[in-house]
């Protein structure tokens, strides 16, 4: 088996350096991972690298001009900027609650973009006082 590549795992804050190699035509994890999740991560990182995506979307008439959003699942790495373009071209109206779906099936990924924050209408501002 020939060591091929070193992958830094991003599943948790430890950041294991996982060594992967080739066995015939198959890719295998050689060592470095401290847990099972590392194997899955390394495999995905080679065949289908994905990342969680967080950004923000413009809000009209809200106590804040933006609402923070996230993807419901990790997005294929090569689609990140396509997804961001859709996110940047979107504007919504206040009020908006946390975990509301804003873009369904973003960039044909089967993944949704949802809010991660509540933004009240402007007139409702300071209500918790």
């Amino acid at each position: 088996m020939i060591p091929e590549k070193e992958i830094t795992c991003i599943v948790c804050p430890i950041g294991c350096k996982i060594i992967i190699g080739k066995q015939g035509e198959r890719l295998v994890v050689l060592n470095g991972n401290k847990c099972k999740k590392g194997i899955e991560y390394a495999r995905n990182e080679v065949f289908d690298p994905r990342r969680m995506l967080t950004s923000s979307i413009r809000v009209k008439g809200g106590e804040w001009p933006l609402v923070s959003v996230k993807s419901t699942n990790p997005i294929p790495k090569d689609k990140i900027f396509t997804v961001l373009e859709e996110v940047q071209n979107t504007t919504i109206k206040a009020p908006v609650k946390s975990h509301q779906i804003i873009i369904k099936n973003v960039a044909n990924t089967g993944i949704d973009i949802i809010t991660t924050k509540t933004v009240h209408s402007l007139k409702k501002q300071g209500n918790f006082l």
Partner: protein, 420 residues
């Protein structure tokens, strides 16, 4: 003057203040008031829109705003009074707090008080970067707030000094919003942020990381025009003839955090020179009776999960102080002083007045491989623990039992970290 009574008043409505307030209420404090000078609750969390919060505490990965809303909802459902846009001006040893907001001046008479005033970012002046004084120089956190809360981009061509997690996360965020991130410059030979953030914030987007480098000059008239970066030697002194100029309109500083204790200091709360936070005992009470501390004003934490964990304990002790004021009698002349010995930068708490299990948080002074952590009183070893690698950037947490006879017969407990 609007006069009000309270059982526990919390100064600061960020994650620490909210966790402490919720816990104080759960532990029996009746009237709990949280004061915050911002318009919102949650402190810095609403601008930390990336995910990774709550993994240790709730077992799920949340974004900053989601984590904050969880605590805001808990505070609201428990009828904790939250005064936003309210600035605490001063307090005295009788626990009378003077605060001001749009409705006027307040005098809050409380039985216990919790300091949860957070921390501030280091600025250009703390790292003494020479050069002119153009616009376009921000701390990373300020830039993060402008982008994520106010929809304002700080610039187009950006250099980041400091490779802490905030600096790395803001690099990715700027890239997402179409800016050119020219590079991240780090004085040390290694990045100070987590490996996962190097991968998903820099490597994913081919953002260069200049290790062993620093910004040695800033140039520009009205707006920043360029910075000079230079390689440094083992003593961190710039090496001549390694200068490199980078044209940019914005420099972001991610240089680290300093606990904010201006309010505490004015009333005479004693501050630890190493943590930058109040000196506390095992109940997280400061040197002023009835005044407790938690969160990043006590010590700068690695994760919000651990910060909340400790802040909840502060809330519990403050609540107990508020309704059992007479029964907690400590002889403050007796007790142990906790000394940060060899290999240790600091230890919290700094004092121990009651026997039993004490939770210590500490940091090593230098990175090491496998090492031994010891708690000793004189020649007696109270605790010996093997650590699989230590690093000053990762806080160490341990519990140790302090028996009565140790407490009554000794003056100092020492914490050390060594190779053997």
């Amino acid at each position: 003057m609007i006069e009000q009574d309270a059982d526990v008043v919390v100064v600061g409505g960020g994650p620490a203040g909210l966790a402490a307030a919720v816990s104080a209420k759960q532990h029996g404090a009746n009237r709990v008031i949280v004061l915050d000078r911002n318009q919102w609750l949650g402190g810095i969390l609403p601008q930390c829109i990336h995910d990774g919060f709550g993994v240790e505490e709730f077992g799920i990965s949340m974004t900053g705003p989601e984590y904050a809303e969880r605590y805001i909802e808990m505070a609201q459902s428990q009828r904790i009074l939250c005064f936003a846009e309210t600035m605490v001006l001063r307090f005295n040893k009788a626990l009378e707090i003077i605060a001001v907001n749009k409705k006027g001046m307040y005098k809050l008479k409380t039985k216990a008080m919790i300091l949860a005033t957070g921390c501030r970012e280091k600025t250009r002046w703390q790292s003494m970067i020479p050069g002119s004084r153009p616009s376009g120089i921000y701390t990373a956190g300020v830039a993060q707030g402008l982008i994520n809360l106010y929809n304002i981009m700080p610039g187009k061509k950006i250099v980041i000094l400091g490779s802490g997690d905030v600096g790395l996360i803001i690099a990715r965020r700027l890239k997402f919003e179409g800016a050119h991130v020219m590079g991240v410059v780090e004085l040390l030979p290694y990045a100070s942020g987590l490996p996962r953030n190097i991968v998903q914030c820099l490597d994913d987007f081919d953002i260069p990381l200049y290790l062993n480098h620093t910004v040695t000059s800033i140039a520009g008239k009205e707006r920043l025009e360029k910075v000079t970066i230079q390689q440094v030697d083992d003593t961190m002194a710039p090496i001549p003839a390694t200068e490199m100029q980078i044209a940019c309109d914005t420099l972001l500083l991610s240089l680290g955090l300093i606990p904010e204790n201006e309010l505490a200091k004015t009333t005479g709360v004693e501050i630890d020179d190493y943590t930058g936070g109040p000196i506390v005992d095992e109940r997280l009470e400061t040197t002023i009776p009835g005044v407790f501390a938690c969160g990043n004003c006590l010590q700068v934490y690695d994760t919000v999960d651990m910060l909340s964990f400790d802040a909840k304990k502060t809330g519990k002790h403050a609540a107990e102080h508020s309704f059992k004021k007479q029964s907690i009698k400590q002889d403050r002349k007796k007790g142990l002083t906790v000394h940060a010995g060899d290999g240790v930068r600091y230890v919290v708490p700094q004092r121990i007045f009651t026997c039993g299990t004490v939770h210590f948080t500490l940091r090593a002074d230098t990175p090491r491989g496998i090492s031994i952590l010891r708690l000793t009183v004189g020649k007696k070893e109270l605790l010996k623990k093997k650590l699989l690698g230590v690093n000053p950037v990762s806080m160490i947490r341990i519990d140790a039992h302090i028996p009565t006879e140790i407490l009554t017969n000794n003056k100092q407990v020492e914490v050390t970290i060594s190779d053997t």
